[in-house]
């Protein structure tokens, strides 16, 4: 009995860890969707690029002789966020701005093209093999009998929870209180009107891509440290998962993305634990299809009114 409940707790912890990073990526989707009503298809690739850049930065700093771990992580975070944000900005400039205002299909196809381009760009630049990094943060707290199954909360998981929590809180405050955040909300409410009132809508749209990319980079760093392995193809599935999380929570809603990420993460880890790990992707996509069918607005989304 104790063992089963410890096992359950372990799965819950793993699920929440993965889920909180899904939530970080999902926010990128939800913000872009909230403002221009389009799916940022290249977002998963930005996450993958963030992971690669973190690896590059960590190895570079280690080679330069920086020993103090928190300093390495902090500088890596800054570098990764900065460069990934530049990617987010460039994606918007190249693949979205020129086709904005046209048919939705056109923007979507151009974004898919961008996604394929980025994935292959990284493949050519860094090779298609898996790149492994030794784990920097080891150890954790264990719970349970010494001779039986022990549930472990690793320090890495704690780091993920704390960083995610700080980032989410920061974002919520930014959106709710700052001038730029207010402009973001105004643009997502009514872009034309916001433009008439003197908000630079182009800049706000760029800003949402940049914020989304920055959060994806944070997720990339965290999951890179957690898994310790990356390859150019991880962005595709991660993007799809994060999109599922965004839809689950209600696309366009930031708290929804957070909730959706956690629900999806837990569902996935429970599926792997009690059913079969091969089918965990099937279960998440199945969940996506079911949600779209029965509650297209998601858990926290507002119903959409079709205007003619």
């Amino acid at each position: 009995m104790l063992e089963t409940s410890l096992y359950f707790i372990q799965q819950l912890l793993n699920g929440l860890t993965i889920g909180s990073t899904y939530a970080l990526i999902a926010i990128g989707y939800t913000m872009v969707y909230g403002i221009i009503g389009m799916i940022n298809f290249a977002h998963g690739e930005i996450y993958m690029i963030g992971m690669y850049i973190s690896f590059v930065a960590i190895s570079g700093l280690t080679m330069l002789g920086v020993e103090y771990l928190p300093l390495i992580l902090f500088i890596t975070l800054l570098i990764s966020v900065f460069i990934s944000s530049t990617y987010g900005w460039a994606v918007e400039r190249v693949a979205y701005r020129p086709v904005r205002g046209g048919n939705r299909l056109i923007a979507l196809i151009s974004a898919i093209g961008m996604s394929i381009f980025l994935q292959n760009y990284v493949r050519i630049a860094q090779g298609s093999r898996d790149i492994a990094m030794p784990s920097l943060i080891q150890g954790g707290w264990s719970m349970g009998p010494l001779d039986g199954f022990q549930a472990t909360l690793s320090y890495m998981q704690v780091v993920i929870f704390i960083v995610t929590f700080i980032t989410m809180t920061g974002l919520t405050f930014f959106i709710a209180k700052s001038r730029m955040g207010r402009a973001c909300r105004a643009v997502s409410e009514d872009m034309k009107m916001a433009g008439l009132l003197g908000i630079n809508t182009n800049r706000i749209i760029s800003l949402t891509f940049v914020i989304g990319a920055a959060l994806a980079a944070v997720a990339g760093l965290l999951l890179g440290l957690y898994y310790g392995v990356t390859n150019p193809y991880i962005g595709f599935i991660a993007g799809l998962k994060a999109f599922t999380a965004a839809v689950l929570g209600g696309i366009g809603s930031i708290p929804g993305a957070m909730l959706g990420g956690l629900v999806l993460g837990v569902t996935e880890s429970m599926t792997s634990a009690y059913f079969s790990s091969e089918y965990k992707d099937v279960v998440s996509f199945g969940l996506l299809i079911l949600i779209l069918l029965f509650r297209p607005t998601g858990l926290l989304g507002k119903p959409e009114v079709e205007k003619i």
């Binding site: 570098i79 530049t86 939705r104 093209g113």
Partner: protein
């Protein structure tokens, strides 16, 4: 000039920031750890040159665009003086089609084996492109999981043969039917969704099918795939060295000629050509039928369609199902041609390539799609040393096409009549 300098500088520096950390620094594993090393000088020079190029392009973009505007594009201008009657056009078209088909029929007998094989592959992509064109080009539903139906078709033939010993000719319609019913079952719930949701759901569906094929090992063989799928026979004549099925005779023995392996290749090519011609014919007919017109109307304006009393679910569902059935035919043919299939052949990239064919060719236009399929399949073969950059180019091309010519190279032209004063 001055007000363009700063944005151009930003763009140039941004290119440097984008390119350097990934292209200029390579991750290498040393022992247990991970290190980085700088790329070779050539790559560094390229990075700097690329940044400079972006800077200069941004600086002189306006001038360049002005020049580009003056370059004549392959766009057929509307000339009211040269009105060709629909009857005349039909006649020209018939002649043109006849010549092309004749060339396509005779050509393989004079070509090398490798080329005929490549042409067969092109024909498979033509078929897939035409099928997806119904869904994306005509009905305007973005389907990113089209390869799933292709996989269903391929596995239908492979499995029906393996478990029930059915021949290719029996399986071909069954494969189409299977793919169509998968399209129907998936389409029924999801077609209520808006465009981009539909794209994601179909993408997820494609992945689900692939994962199922990969993991349902005792039925599909999992990642090992299914091998020794027989090639189709021509009325009981087989093209192998020896007839494998009971009651069949080998082709060369029947006609008392020497065995030549290129007969098989040519036969497969002709079969593919036949399937493509059938596809073209059916789709052309469909396009002129009320259902085809309804597809296009729905693509243009859904709300208007609904207010005119068209049932959007039935219309979308018919497009989805019919499109899927062609993928099923193509899949069955593919597995017969390859003799071996595995889930590897049915990844998202395949869907993206088919979509790229439709986009490049011009959504809705059949001739455009045929040309695009040829370009997309033959060009990578010609430029084998650039094989590694193939997908990179695909991606770039999709973005640039959407910016430069979203309607595709050869946009669809509606069948129309013009009034003359006479």
């Amino acid at each position: 000039m001055k007000d363009k300098f700063i944005p151009a500088l930003i763009a140039g520096v941004a290119t440097l920031i984008l390119a350097f950390p990934l292209l200029g620094l390579n991750l290498v594993s040393d022992g247990l750890g991970l290190g980085i090393e700088g790329a070779d000088t050539q790559t560094m020079i390229y990075i700097v040159l690329a940044s400079l190029a972006v800077f200069i392009f941004q600086l002189f973009k306006e001038n360049a665009l002005n020049i580009a505007k003056n370059i004549p594009l392959p766009r057929r201008a509307y000339k009211p003086d040269a009105v060709v009657s629909q009857a005349q056009r039909d006649k020209n078209e018939k002649l043109f089609t006849f010549i092309i088909v004749a060339i396509a029929l005779v050509w393989p007998f004079f070509a090398s084996r490798g080329n005929v094989d490549l042409a067969t592959l092109v024909l498979i992509y033509v078929m897939l492109g035409l099928g997806l064109n119904i869904v994306v080009g005509l009905a305007g539903l973005l389907d990113l999981g089209y390869v799933a139906f292709y996989a269903v078709g391929a596995y239908s033939y492979a499995l029906l043969h393996q478990y029930f010993g059915l021949s290719f000719w029996v399986c071909l319609p069954l494969a189409g039917l299977m793919a169509a019913s998968f399209g129907f079952v998936l389409g029924f719930p999801v077609l209520r969704l808006r465009g981009d949701y539909l794209a994601i759901v179909t993408l997820g569906f494609g992945e689900i099918i692939r994962i199922l094929l990969n993991n349902w090992t005792h039925l599909t063989g999992g990642p090992n795939g299914i091998g020794s799928i027989p090639k189709p026979a021509l009325f009981g004549l087989e093209f192998g060295r020896k007839a494998k099925e009971e009651g069949n005779i080998a082709f060369h023995e029947y006609f008392n000629i020497a065995y030549n392996s290129s007969y098989k290749v040519i036969f497969l090519y002709l079969l593919a050509l036949l399937l493509v011609l059938f596809t073209i014919f059916v789709i052309r007919r469909l396009m002129r039928m009320p259902v085809g017109r309804a597809w296009e109307a729905l693509r243009e304006d859904e709300i208007a369609c609904r207010s005119l009393g068209l049932n959007r679910t039935i219309i979308k569902l018919s497009a989805f199902t019919i499109g899927a059935s062609f993928a099923g035919f193509a899949g069955a043919f593919f597995s017969a041609k390859q003799g071996f299939i595995s889930p590897e052949s049915f990844t998202f990239i395949e869907s993206a390539i088919i979509l790229a064919i439709v986009v490049l060719g011009g959504m809705g236009s059949q001739l455009g799609i045929i040309l695009a399929a040829i370009a997309m399949t033959v060009l990578p073969e010609l430029a084998r040393e650039f094989q590694e950059y193939r997908m990179l180019m695909f991606g770039l091309m999709m973005v640039l096409m959407m910016i430069w010519r979203p309607q595709g190279l050869l946009p669809m032209k509606r069948r129309h009549m013009e009034l003359t004063n006479a």
